[in-house]
């Protein structure tokens, strides 16, 4: 976390996080193994993925089209499972094992 002190003597006592809302500073999607990829031609803008995503990682645009926030998406695959038109594919991160 960029805004946190580095040295032990400078940290808040007991490791308390005294600045709420700091999850914006921490990208928690870095350990994702599978990445959801949206096929926008198939997408019907039904927004089921947006409803089901447990991590608010579906970005909803004004026209109800959607994208994935890869900074926070953990790759759980719920969106792909729930998509009624199979417009979301789970792709292995890093290209997978050759």
């Amino acid at each position: 976390m960029s805004s946190w002190p580095s040295k032990w003597m400078d940290l808040p006592m007991a490791g308390i996080i005294n600045k709420p809302g700091n999850s914006l500073e921490v990208k928690t999607g870095t350990w994702r193994a599978l990445r959801p990829v949206i096929n926008h031609e198939k997408c019907t803008k039904c927004l089921l993925c947006w409803i089901y995503c447990p991590d608010n990682a579906i970005i909803r645009h004004e026209d109800n089209s959607v994208d994935i926030n890869y900074d926070y998406c953990k790759g759980c695959g719920i969106c792909a499972r729930e998509c009624p038109v199979k417009a979301i594919e789970m792709v292995e991160e890093g290209g997978g094992m050759e």
Binding site: W4, S6, K7, W8, M9, L11, P12, M13, A14, G15, I16, I17, N18, P20
Partner: protein
């Protein structure tokens, strides 16, 4: 001038601890009954339900929950008391570390009872020793009076802004917990308030100022946060000393980290925790009449270990006999022995060290048993001896 509003009475150790928590005007009690601590919880429950003590009594379903509830209440700013013994402390184990790391100044009465198996309800120091690395301040009471006083002083120490660590007051199962002894208690919580004002919490839970307590910290921050806790604990002894001095003044009874008895010219010094210190002192009286130069060092403060004070007392002895009411299976010595050995290792001219294991599961130790120890250690090869075991 010490407080005059004290009355002479007779109480068991458990009752005295309950009265101390009552007189400290605790806000929350979360505890689960277990022999030999049950009376503490019973009395406190009565104080609350009779309307004498305005506190939340949380009748939890286990010791794990008792300490968890205590941590939550303490974070919310309450003055919190809990109590347990033996297997109950074992069930609290994971929360012990959390209570310390979150800097919650909970005070616990611990009626020291042997760990099973075999199942036993009497005294060993297994439970106190099990908590030794958890970052709790630990006192050992030698008498019922000390158990009462150390709980009251303990709240002021634990809640001190320079301390903020949880604190255990140890009292030997049955020998103290269930024996009625004469003692002075204050006339009520209004009297104690002169010494111990209401708690002023640091960083309490506050909906208008939300914070996260006990967050995840992995490779990037865990080590820094542990170092901070470790250094903080290491720095608290001067503050403990200051409060004990204040309390000595208030009560008229002197409290310090250690108690010395005939140590100045002693060739042989016994080191001991808890109620059996008096037995060893009586043995010292008898041995001194026979011209044997023996002394006793008993520790009121066990954690943080008062290493400087202990080293100063023991540095001129020929032989130091460390009495452990527990055994550390597989270790090169029992728990107190290890602390003393480490403390003395830096001396250029170290005394001989002997470890005595005594009194497990409440087995009695008499002054004549101490004479037996002196016979046994005439063999210079003896480094460890189980006192009073058949075989």
């Amino acid at each position: 001038m010490s407080c005059e509003k004290q009355v002479r009475t007779g109480l068991t150790g458990d009752e005295a601890v309950a009265y101390a928590a009552f007189h400290a005007d605790v806000d929350v009690i979360a505890a689960y009954p277990i022999t030999p601590q049950t009376v503490m919880v019973e009395r406190l429950s009565e104080f609350v339900h009779n309307g004498e003590l305005d506190a939340e009594f949380v009748p939890v379903e286990s010791e794990h929950s008792a300490l968890s509830a205590s941590v939550g209440a303490s974070l919310a700013g309450a003055r919190v008391f809990t109590a347990t013994a033996s297997q109950g402390l074992a069930l609290m184990y994971e929360i012990l570390y959390i209570a310390s790391a979150l800097r919650t100044p909970i005070v616990m009465g611990l009626a020291n009872r042997a760990f099973s198996a075999p199942i036993n309800i009497h005294c060993s120091h297994d439970d106190a020793y099990a908590a030794r690395d958890a970052g709790w301040i630990q006192f050992f009471a030698e008498t019922v009076q000390e158990a009462y006083d150390l709980v009251i002083a303990g709240f002021k120490i634990a809640e001190d802004k320079n301390v903020l660590f949880p604190l255990i007051v140890n009292l030997d199962a049955f020998i103290l917990s269930h024996s009625i002894e004469p003692l002075y208690i204050y006339e009520g919580k209004e009297v104690v308030r002169e010494f111990l004002p209401p708690r002023e919490p640091v960083n309490p839970i506050d909906p208008d100022n939300p914070m996260t307590y006990g967050p995840l910290a992995l490779q990037n921050y865990y080590m820094e946060i542990k170092k901070q806790q470790y250094e903080a604990f290491k720095s608290i002894n001067p503050h403990i000393k200051k409060v004990l001095e204040e309390y000595s003044e208030f009560s008229g009874r002197r409290y310090d980290f250690i108690k010395k008895y005939h140590v100045d010219d002693a060739d042989i010094i016994f080191v001991i925790l808890g109620s059996a210190a008096g037995t060893v002192r009586e043995a010292v009286n008898r041995l001194r009449k026979e011209g044997v130069k023996v002394g006793v060092l008993s520790l009121t403060l066990y954690r943080p270990f008062p290493a400087n004070e202990v080293r100063e007392v023991l540095r001129n002895a020929n032989t130091v006999i460390v009495m452990d009411r527990s055994c550390s299976i597989g270790s090169p010595g029992a728990q107190l022995y290890l602390d003393v050995a480490t403390t003395l290792y830096s001396l250029p001219d170290r005394p001989r060290l002997v470890n005595i294991i005594y009194g497990l599961g409440g087995r009695d130790m008499f002054p004549d048993d101490i004479k037996k120890v002196l016979e046994v250690i005439k063999d210079p090869k003896v480094t460890e001896y189980w006192l009073g075991v058949r075989g």
